[in-house]
């Protein structure tokens, strides 16, 4: 039993190495980075972080990203809940085809759609808004949310629905007060995945914004090219992008551990 735990330990060590390197580099001066190899920062500095927290073009990048990711997560989960219910409880004309079609939208390479998306959202007049990015990310997040929630809902016995109707619950009241709480873990996991894929996607986010809703990633690439190669600053900005994700995982850690019960049918 004890011998087995070496595998996860080694794996986690492997995962942490590049992250350690990024964090270590963010505390080094540019001089130290370029002058040679050092395992630990020799001249510990917080300059890179100071730049990011005092310069609005930097910190607004983070705020913009968090805004559109949050809007996207709320929209994705909210519309996916009734749809997943329909797929899990009813048979209707074209249900299987519709389900597969939804999944196909995860297969479309974002690189293909960048230009048409730009044209579409310009035409609708919401280019460079948080809503534009949030809606565009629905393309791949809604299908995934439907898929995950449908899995969780399949694990809830149908008798629950029937009992509620016998007790005189209307459908909306049953759905909100009984059904959704019974798949809390599923909602958590779906929201986690929606957050994750929206937070890490950059190609569409960059294409659909210019100034007002510019994501942190766009700020990073711009700085990397205009100011030469400021590795320390880049590393600090990168380190800060890990934090929101880490907070979100912390909140859903028990759902991931216990729940994640897709396929528990």
């Amino acid at each position: 039993m004890q011998k087995r735990s070496i595998v996860p330990i080694l794996y986690i060590l492997f995962l942490m190495l590049p992250i350690y390197w990024l964090v270590a580099m963010s505390f080094k001066t540019t001089n130290e980075i370029l002058s040679g190899f050092s395992l630990f920062p020799q001249t510990f500095t917080l300059d890179a972080y100071r730049t990011i927290f005092t310069d609005p073009t930097w910190y607004w990048g983070y705020i913009n990203s968090i805004l559109y990711v949050s809007i996207n997560t709320v929209i994705s989960v909210a519309v996916a809940l009734p749809a997943a219910y329909a797929f899990s409880r009813y048979r209707f004309l074209g249900d299987k085809q519709l389900f597969f079609w939804l999944l196909t939208n995860r297969m479309a390479p974002a690189a293909v759609f960048a230009l048409p998306f730009f044209q579409l959202y310009s035409a609708v007049g919401i280019f460079d808004t948080h809503l534009a990015v949030a809606l565009a990310h629905c393309l791949f997040n809604i299908p995934l949310a439907v898929w995950i929630l449908e899995g969780f809902m399949g694990g809830v016995p149908k008798e629950l629905d029937e009992t509620a109707y016998v007790d005189g619950y209307s459908f909306p009241r049953f759905f909100v007060t009984i059904f959704i709480p019974s798949i809390k873990a599923g909602v958590g996991v779906a929201a986690f995945f929606a957050f994750m894929f929206s937070w890490v996607e950059l190609l569409l986010a960059k294409t659909l914004t210019a100034v007002a809703a510019k994501p942190i990633a766009a700020t990073m690439t711009k700085t990397a090219s205009s100011a030469g190669y400021e590795l320390g600053l880049l590393a600090a900005a990168g380190t800060l992008t890990i934090i929101p994700g880490a907070i979100v995982i912390y909140f859903v850690r028990n759902y991931i551990a216990k729940g994640f019960a897709m396929g528990r049918v």
Binding site: L17, A80, V112, F117, G263
Partner: protein, 287 residues
């Protein structure tokens, strides 16, 4: 069993509208470009299927498609068994479970360009941890900007680092859902570790593994940002995967017609392979 109810369409409608808005309109734009030629100024000429023919015959497309299949094949063959092995060797309960899961999920939540940039500085020959270690401690000559094999090893390692946890998390979810009674029964029967895996654990992981393999296939086949930031498709064209090549044609050369035709072929291949996976892996459930 499920009841027949056509009103269920109303539940699906919001999803349908939102996804259709994002999927169909841009798709029509791409289809539109793929059959026309333009010299700018919004003047278009009918081109028919010429672009498709040109792309399907071009060696450049064959080469990047080959690299793409190679990449996806390699990462699947490493990530899926590795992910299952890690999930099997994790403790089933206790204090360390959430700690392990949180740490393992971390790489998946890092924005993709940061992943690329991070591996770039990690692999720099003289000042990166990995590059320094390989070159100066182990004495292996390693420079991914010069050597195609080193570049391939780096992008594969990066993807394994980035996504194996997805397989681990999903397999683990399947494993913890197995009731203890199954294991006790297997013990009484004197089943070997292998038969416990083959006849109890693997079948229980099937649904989640289907999800994991499909997701990994789709996402690795469409991968763009990470290898683009890490190697830029180089050295030469050795790591120019399909998406990278596509963006080069569409935005670099601004050949919208061929790029659109290539997008559609690309999409059709992804669709076909995913559909094959999907049907093969869900075949038993339908019966």
């Amino acid at each position: 069993m499920k009841t027949e109810n056509q009103k269920a369409w109303f539940f699906v409608l919001p999803v349908l509208l939102l996804v259709a808005f994002n999927a169909l309109i841009p798709m029509m734009t791409v289809v539109n470009y793929s059959v026309q030629e333009t010299f700018g100024d919004n003047v278009f000429f009918w081109q028919g299927l010429d672009w498709f023919e040109q792309i399907l015959r071009s060696e450049r497309f064959h080469a990047s498609l080959g690299r793409q299949f190679m990449f996806t094949f390699l990462i699947l063959i490493i990530e899926v068994p590795l992910g299952i092995a890690i999930a099997l060797s994790m403790p089933r309960s206790g204090f360390w479970v959430p700690v392990c899961l949180v740490l393992m999920a971390l790489p998946m939540l890092i924005p993709w360009n940061v992943v690329g940039a991070m591996w770039n500085i990690f692999a720099l020959p003289d000042i990166g941890l990995l590059g320094y270690f390989l070159n100066h401690v182990l004495g292996i000559h390693y420079d991914m900007t010069q050597d195609p094999i080193a570049a391939w090893v780096t992008i594969i390692t990066m993807d394994v680092w980035h996504w194996t946890s997805l397989v681990v998390l999903l397999s683990y979810a399947g494993l913890v859902s197995i009731p203890d009674a199954y294991y006790q029964a297997a013990k009484i029967d004197g089943a070997s570790n292998w038969s416990v895996f083959r006849f109890i654990q693997l079948p229980k992981m099937k649904t989640v593994l289907t999800i994991a393999i499909l997701l990994r296939f789709m996402d690795s086949f469409n991968i763009y940002t990470e290898p683009f930031v890490l190697t830029g498709g180089g050295p030469g064209n050795s790591t120019t995967l399909l998406s990278i090549d596509l963006v080069k044609i569409a935005l670099g050369q601004f050949d919208l017609g061929p790029a659109a035709a290539m997008s559609l072929i690309y999409f059709a291949i992804t669709l076909l392979v995913s559909w094959l996976f999907y049907t093969l892996m869900t075949k038993d459930d339908l019966n």
